[in-house]
Symmetry: C2
Subunit: 299 residues, 2 copies
């Protein structure tokens, strides 16, 4: 199966051998090789436009809201006052678009390594790209590692919106990365990173979770449905510096009217709580059995 | 894209145009055309054996537990004493396997229209097929409609484990089917039917939900993750006769020790509650906004 053949794009990866999602393509809107990766924008028949990096679906217009809302509002609503937010990656702009909706957020710093992803998104995916041009957002092109080394003790929330742990984003799934984020956070600060799914590569999820747990006083794993991601869902690992916290219970609870005003289509306080409830096999793999007896996640 | 080509099985359906999941096939273990449908069993590279009916994945050994446990334990744990259970469809035997685990269940009646599905499952998928041979289970080959007309006021729980609303199972998604189930239930009895996903064909889900709501005093929609189903999840519509009930709160709460003893890998009381928490767009489509204000599903 080639990547695009007979009018279908097929997503093949060594991360999920033997399984493949395909989307019917109406038109290839853009294709280039940037300094860092292959970038494609496809007009699909079923899911609007799709952004593809190195052959992997990053987001489609139809279901991106689940990922962007959840990776943003899970950490933001777990923090009492998230004024300063750092986004590492997130070149399409969708996370920035969501983060600026939170009324406490004063400023968003975004560090994306590939300027071309941002330019392509602004041109072809303006509903996401718009986040990059928001007045509260400052965009830096560069390496997130380097940026954080130079900006210690500055952020309330750090969101890592990366591609999968293969290729340019591999280092963002290591313990040294979590240590660096800890340094860049203020006391009580919270991190949230894309962390794969328990249905495919559970071992990788457990590793990422343990790296986070080794570095932060509190750590939890949540997930949401994203049909065009492998296995149909994506996970998030959250950590908090110094303060111990139960991520399952949001500290900022938005009313129905506030959610409506922010145009949220996936996130709600109820979904926040449910996102941390894992199937038994995953609960046991991440938390063991003893904590499950109390019906509580690690807190 | 043909169904099996170059060593990959591809699932194409008019129910989800423009999207296709493919599984790499090591061996075609079985292929036949029964009186009712095309039946295939594939040895896949990633998901163990897969049962395919009319070109659609019914279950794979790797992730079937989520579906079988949830379609069984959501209704069983919503009923105070589910002694008599009817399964319509479920030819692979996986639902029967789960239902008999519940300590209150005294007898299971299963009505499957295609005897060949059951024989094939016993032969190739013994981990599921075993349910059909359990001493508490009586299997009838025939039409579920006809069977229920002849067995009124007999069951505490009716589970409809059907294929999708196209082909032989189409009638199982109509209001007349829910009316028939109501007649076959005892007072306070509960139904649970496969009901599609909110990410693809939301309108069909809303229709099925409304049929159920028109017929039963209580109605709710839950879901669980099943990576090899379209969009990576599957929904369940539940209804209760006469009694009003909040399906979100199980009445039978199993301890960790009981769950372990039953070998449950997905279901837990926490997962039961979370299964009914919908993303905002789906919550609004099924329940409207007014009930959401109270943070409650229709009850």
């Amino acid at each position: 199966m080639d990547a695009i053949k007979d009018g279908w794009f097929s997503e093949l990866s060594t991360l999920w051998p033997g399984v493949c999602l395909s989307l019917e393509v109406e038109k290839i809107l853009h294709s280039e090789k940037s300094e860092f990766q292959d970038i494609k924008v496809l007009q699909t028949k079923s899911h609007g436009k799709a952004l593809i990096l190195d052959g992997i679906i990053q987001c489609t217009e139809n279901d991106e809201f689940s990922y962007q809302e959840m990776i943003s509002f899970l950490p933001l609503c777990s923090h009492p006052n998230p004024k300063q937010v750092l986004i590492v990656g997130g070149g399409d702009g969708g996370v920035a678009r969501e983060v600026v909706k939170h009324p406490a957020v004063e400023h968003v710093t975004q560090v994306e390594i590939d300027a071309r992803v941002m330019q392509v998104s602004k041109q072809y995916l303006p509903n996401m790209g718009v986040g990059l041009s928001h007045p509260k957002v400052s965009v830096f092109v560069g390496d997130g590692f380097k940026f954080m080394k130079e900006h210690k003790n500055q952020f309330d929330v750090i969101i890592t919106d990366s591609s999968d742990p293969i290729g340019p984003a591999e280092s963002l799934f290591q313990q040294s990365y979590f240590e660096l984020m800890r340094e860049a956070l203020k006391p009580g600060g919270i991190v949230c990173s894309q962390a794969g799914t328990v249905w495919c590569g559970l071992e990788t999820v457990v590793n990422t979770f343990n790296f986070c747990k080794n570095v932060f006083e509190s750590c939890s794993y949540g997930y949401s449905a994203v049909p065009t991601y492998p296995t149909g869902q994506i996970g998030y690992v959250l950590g908090r510096k110094i303060e111990r916290t139960n991520f399952k219970e949001p500290v900022r609870i938005f009313s129905e009217m506030e959610l409506e005003k922010m145009g949220l289509r996936y996130y709600s306080p109820e979904i926040h709580r449910a996102a941390f409830v894992l199937p038994r096999f995953a609960q046991k793999a991440l938390y063991g059995t003893e904590q499950k007896v109390n019906g509580m996640n690690h807190d």
